[in-house]
Amino acid sequence: MTIPAQPSPAADLAAYRRLIARLPVTLRPELNARLAQWPTLFPFEQDQFAAFLRGIQSTPSSQLDALTRPLWDLETRMGVARWDFSQSESTVENASLLARSPYYPEWRQQVDRFFQAMEHNAQPSTASQPGPAQSRLVLLLLPEHLPVDPAELDQRWRSTGRAFRIDGDPQSLRRLALQGQPGTPSLASVLHPAEDTSQLWLIDAEDALARDAAPALAASASSLSFTGLAAFRRQFLAGINTIPRNISATDQVIAQLRRQDWSPWYPAALAGQPRLQQFVLNLWLSGNGALIFPNAFVEWTASEALRRARPRMLVARFGMQTRPKPFTSIAIFEDQQKISALPSVDDPESSALDAVMLSHYIWLAALRYPQGDNTFCLCIAEHPRTAWLVAPPNRWPAWAPGQSIAPQQLYQWLAAQLAS
């Protein structure tokens, strides 16, 4: 059996399946699930997964046996053969069975050991994906209407970044990044190869980014907003809230939600984008507040985009959240509009605190991957007119920390860095 470097779907997927079937049972669900979603994986993920499987295939049998033997032994002691354990997908039941086993901590260690070894053996193809050495940008926007406390920003960013005072309209930097100006291309067009929409992400708690992006740019980006997904969110939340307090029934409901035809509920911007549609579906099912709070949506969407697509440019804009209405704070997993007819009231202070924390989380997510080494991060807090910049080693600007910088000046410096 040979795993080809350039997959040609049907035959290669069959080879992948046979390879996975040789691995310990508890490793199979996640790998099989990824394989089942192959057509909707992003190009980076497909390359990475194929390289991982080629790595397994090329590992000498003796080494592979030595690596998997402890897992096979553990599975025998855990009684996995007697479990109702799905091999085709990761389920709540699977997780529960594993967690209940007294061997669970040992199992986790062995799984980590296996994946570390296999990732070391992975055989990347010479595919067209941008390499980790290319410059990248994470642009984080905390809009004017969020009363961000500079001390909170300082607490999160001071260990890695440098702060500058923005001398001018801080919103102009967003427009420059997305639209450019006569004689100067937008940052997005500097970084972004238009043929792959997974290389530019515009993620918004509200709808400002889609409004500001040049039409050609918007069409070639992966663009998601909490506001734009409102109808789909509400419908999906209603489905989630039918989950009873029972593990097997939970798995059934999740499987049903996964299979359901959501096309009537996708916003027009997602039409004809099956990868992005599947991404949103996976996002909703993975929780982390993405269905509930706009700023959690921005953070978790960005983290998943960085993990799965490794984009060259990601713009994440936070926004205003509303105060929990009476009683909804005790039933948070409900649609506030449906539970309470009281008018929604903005919660600027909490929204600002969440935006500070979660914007930093996006940068920490970017740093988990090799691409983070060549990524610039610019966090613009419009209310206090502050920019926090993190640059790769030896690529910092000459400006003194705390210095006032005009948006145009900051933009030109960044464009020059990213183009080089």
């Binding site: 529960s96 967690a99 209940r100 086993s101 007294p102 669970y104 901590p105 986790r108 607490q155 809230n241 307090r245 029972n246 593990i247 929780g287 982390n288 507040g289 993405a290 509930i292 709070f293 700023n295 959690a296 953070e299 978790w300 983290s303 959240q321 105060r323 929990p324 209405k325 009476p326 009683f327 909804t328 704070s329 005790i330 039933a331 948070i332 997993f333 409900e334 649609d335 449906k338 539970i339 309470s340 007819a341 009281l342 919660d347 202070e349 909490s350 929204s351 605190l353 969440d354 924390m357 979660l358 930093h360 989380y361 920490l364 997510a365 740093l367 988990r368």
Partner: protein
């Protein structure tokens, strides 16, 4: 408005407890009280990291614990959760003195006897002397008694989920498509009342009582009236933990149980990604623990003979983790496993900081020693906890 809201919540709590008084049939006529009337209150409070609590950046969220209570107590800065860092497993482990590996959703009871069972069986105590009052949706009534044959439900605790009652009411109203309107609350009340009609004690969180399966009419009327008042008059968010505390206070007044376990969970909103609401939950717990201790000192049944233990169940995952940081508590890392505990009162009369690392399963044998119970032994090959240092037992 704040005073009114609190009064209504208090009234609702009192009426909820009234329901138990009316329905309770003492299981044990003869009782031998624990040693010198000693009492223990154990408070667990979800997942709180050191960063948001006992650290240079975190103490601003816990002014009462840090400034008012810490100087009076025995503080354990290094208590570790070496088990499964989920709610049901952690609380079961604390209560049994053995790391439990159970269904996270509370489908199965603890596999070794709980403190409730040790205490009630050893002292021949009625169920009114052992309570678990919880805000946490992840728990079920199975937390109150183990599956061990010689112990089990006959020796289990009263398990009450006050918050669940409110959630059920709100969710039911929502599922019926009827919004909670401040101007037209009558539209919601039929839903709340229907819930009381169709659900028995389980729905209300009362459990382990065994022989009684429904509220008696008087109690049901009382609960309906309480909910009516609560829905009608509340125009600001009422947190689940606040209601849990009020029910706990009422239970202390009416029953003065020997062993009361309270679990708070407002901070668990972190799972939905609101850091601001998470730290607000931490602040609420800080305030409620202080009120709880003050309340205990005001009650003759508790004053001078009570030991309070307060601890998070675990931390939360560290910033930058692949598990999304503070959102979750499943990372096998120090940020999640290492936490703190504060003991106050009778057994903690010599204030100090015990820097020796200890484990959460040490709490059960320690409380057993306070009650002078036979120490829980090993369960099969499972590791047993050891009595905590630094306390007067």
């Amino acid at each position: 408005m704040e005073t009114t809201r609190r009064n209504i919540l208090k009234a609702a709590a009192a009426l909820l407890v009234e329901g138990v008084v009316a329905a309770r049939h003492p299981a044990f006529a003869q009782q031998s009280p624990p040693r010198a009337g000693r009492k223990v209150i154990l408070v667990t409070c979800g997942g709180i990291r050191r960063e948001e609590s006992f650290s240079a950046t975190g103490v601003r969220h816990i002014p009462h614990l840090y400034q008012d209570l810490l100087p009076q107590g025995v503080f354990y800065p290094l208590i570790r959760n070496n088990g499964v860092t989920s709610h049901f497993n952690t609380i079961s482990s604390i209560l049994t003195g053995h790391w439990q590996h159970l269904d996270d959703w509370g489908k199965t009871p603890p596999a070794s006897p709980t403190l409730f069972e040790y205490l009630r069986k050893d002292r021949n105590l009625s169920q009114d002397q052992a309570w678990l009052i919880s805000s946490n949706k992840a728990l079920t009534n199975r937390i109150g008694a183990s599956s061990v044959r010689d112990y089990g439900q006959p020796y289990g605790a009263n398990v009450v989920f006050p918050k669940q009652l409110l959630i059920d009411a709100v969710v039911r109203a929502a599922q019926q498509g009827r919004a909670v309107r401040s101007a037209d609350r009558a539209s919601v009340l039929p839903e709340l009342e229907a819930m009381l009609e169709t659900q028995n004690y389980e729905g209300l969180g009362w459990s382990v009582s065994g022989e009684t399966s429904a509220l008696n009419p008087a109690a049901q009327n009382a609960v309906q009236q309480a909910i009516h008042d609560l829905v009608s008059a509340t125009s600001v968010p009422a947190t689940g933990d606040e209601f849990t505390w009020l029910v706990s206070a009422e239970v202390m007044r009416r029953f003065a149980p020997s062993l009361l376990v309270i679990t708070f969970s407002d901070m668990e909103v972190a799972h939905f990604g609101s850091y601001a609401m998470h730290v607000a939950g931490v602040r609420t717990v800080d305030r409620l623990v202080h009120e709880l201790w003050t309340h205990a000192q005001s009650l003759p049944a508790y004053r001078g003979n009570t030991t309070l233990f307060v601890l998070p169940e675990f931390g939360r995952d560290m910033d930058g983790s692949t598990t999304n940081g503070f959102f979750n508590h499943r990372q096998n890392a120090e940020s999640t496993r290492n936490t703190w505990m504060l003991a106050l009162g009778q057994a903690a009369a010599k204030p100090q900081i015990v820097e020796q690392p200890v484990e959460q399963i040490d709490i059960c044998p320690t409380i057993a020693s306070i009650f002078d119970l036979k120490a829980p032994g090993p369960a099969g090959n499972a590791q047993s906890g050891k009595v905590l240092p630094g306390l007067l037992l």
